[in-house]
């Protein structure tokens, strides 16, 4: 059920001149990967206050990209730009630049934001299952899309719960309330719900910050498995989590992208002293 965005009729702007690229000390992660999200010179405002300055970065297909940085650095704002969650906030807007997914400008008025969010799913910091049964949580989005056949819904519920590594734990109580599950299971229900509609991209905003180490390990394991099928962008305050789960890491500070490269380079040999100070806990 992969949906497509309406392609724009006007020609795509010519690509910018290539930047000077330094030799990486290690081979970049899968250099053949395709950029599925292109963020080009993006500025973002909340009313008069500028939250993002001239952000340019590409998110590669079927990789995990981590956004790190101190509170207020703009990482969550940028994440929420990727499926236009910021539309819900008054006065919040991308004030310059473009965000393209598969070459289409997602802020073009002709883009259907519901379609966009089907393709770009989201998992939040606090698990937020609907006050419904486990089964209904997973099928909610599909029913809204008009899917009614029970056999098909059953199949998707099983596949999504298996995908979220939760099937064995909940298969005998699918019709019990999702609110009766543990925190870690609730978060994995939210991931199952996100993957049920078969998005291309999953955004995760600190998905483990409220979980204990065992539940965190399960979610990280899940993220690692999901990248075979999905492109994942994760915001995290946990430096070791970024190091463990991501292929690429972007470090933000005061609304600016300071450094973006392979995760190994960020944690082994960052080019920017601010990145070095942040990842080693010397910031401030």
């Amino acid at each position: 059920m992969v949906t497509t965005l309406t392609p724009m009729p006007e020609p795509v702007a010519p690509p910018a001149a290539p930047r000077p690229v330094a030799v990486a000390p290690v081979a970049p992660v899968n250099p053949a990967a395709r950029a599925v999200i292109e963020i080009d010179d993006v500025d973002f405002h909340y009313g008069a206050s500028k939250a993002l300055h001239d952000i340019t970065l590409n998110i590669m297909e079927r990789q995990v990209t981590a956004f790190i940085g101190p509170s207020g650095c703009g990482k969550s704002t940028l994440l929420r730009c990727l499926n236009r969650m910021n539309d819900l906030i008054d006065g919040a807007r991308v004030s310059a630049g473009q965000i393209r997914i598969d070459g289409v400008n997602i802020n073009d008025p002709r883009v259907d934001v519901i379609e966009l969010r089907k393709r770009v799913g989201m998992v939040f910091q606090k698990s937020n299952p609907f006050p419904k049964s486990i089964y209904e949580n997973i099928t909610y989005g599909l029913r809204i899309q008009g899917l009614k056949q029970k056999a098909r819904l059953d199949e998707i519920v099983e596949r999504s719960l298996r995908g979220a590594a939760l099937w064995d734990e909940v298969k005998d109580r699918l019709h019990e309330s999702a609110l009766g599950l543990s925190g870690g299971q609730q978060q994995r229900i939210c991931i199952a719900r996100a993957i049920a509609v078969e998005p291309e991209i999953i955004l995760m905003d600190e998905p483990c910050s409220a979980l204990d180490p065992i539940a965190t390990a399960k979610v990280e394991e899940l993220i690692h498995g999901l990248k075979k099928q999905f492109t994942i962008v994760i915001v995290t305050h946990n430096m070791q989590q970024a190091a463990r789960v991501s292929d690429r890491t972007a470090f933000f500070y005061l609304g600016k992208l300071i450094e973006y490269t392979d995760t190994r380079t960020i944690f082994m040999n960052p080019a920017n002293p601010q990145t070095e100070a942040y990842v080693s806990g010397r910031f401030g």
Binding site: P25, M268, N272
Partner: protein, 233 residues
Amino acid sequence: MKRFFDAELEAFRSHLLQMGERAIEQTRLAMKALADADIALADKVIASDDELDKLEVKIDDEAIRYMTLRGPVASELRLIVVGMKASHDLERVGDEATGIARRSRKLAIEPRLELYADLPRMANIALEMLRDALDCFVQEDEQKALSVIRRDPEVDNINRLLYRRLTSYMIENPDTIARALELMFISKSLERIADHATNIAEEMVFLSKGLDIRHSDIGKQTELPTTGSHPPA
């Protein structure tokens, strides 16, 4: 921002430097014992090896503790990894110095051969290399590290030359074989010390640039490749 455990990293760094100083001093004294036929000095060098061994254990213990409890990344992680490797090299330098001291003890009671002259010259180069490699640790000067690496063939050449000369000498004077062999082993020890200095210099390049140049031709070049981040465009 200072962190409450920054002092641990400083202590680690200073213990490594202290170990470097001790290894240099041991080698210097072993060579002096050889030159002066000083048995008491040779005994002192042999007895002091224990200190270097203890420092190696201490440095490893500090490194493992820091990795376990402080989660080092970036330059700190490189410092810890390099510190562990360099301390192992320095411990081996100490072993070579002890070997030289043992041999000079034996040679001290024998009539002197005339082939000593090249050994002090070789020792001077090896010790300079070691000192420069350790300076890089303080200064994070990869150019100096590269110059250490480029000096290694000089010591290798002297060792080969000495080997040939000692071989012909033994053929001509079979009664000197035992003594000449001791000199050959001392020459080999000095060559090994220069190798350890080279290893440490390579480790210092990794420390300052995050670049692993072992078993490559990079060390022979005058410029290192640029490192750093790059946009994945």
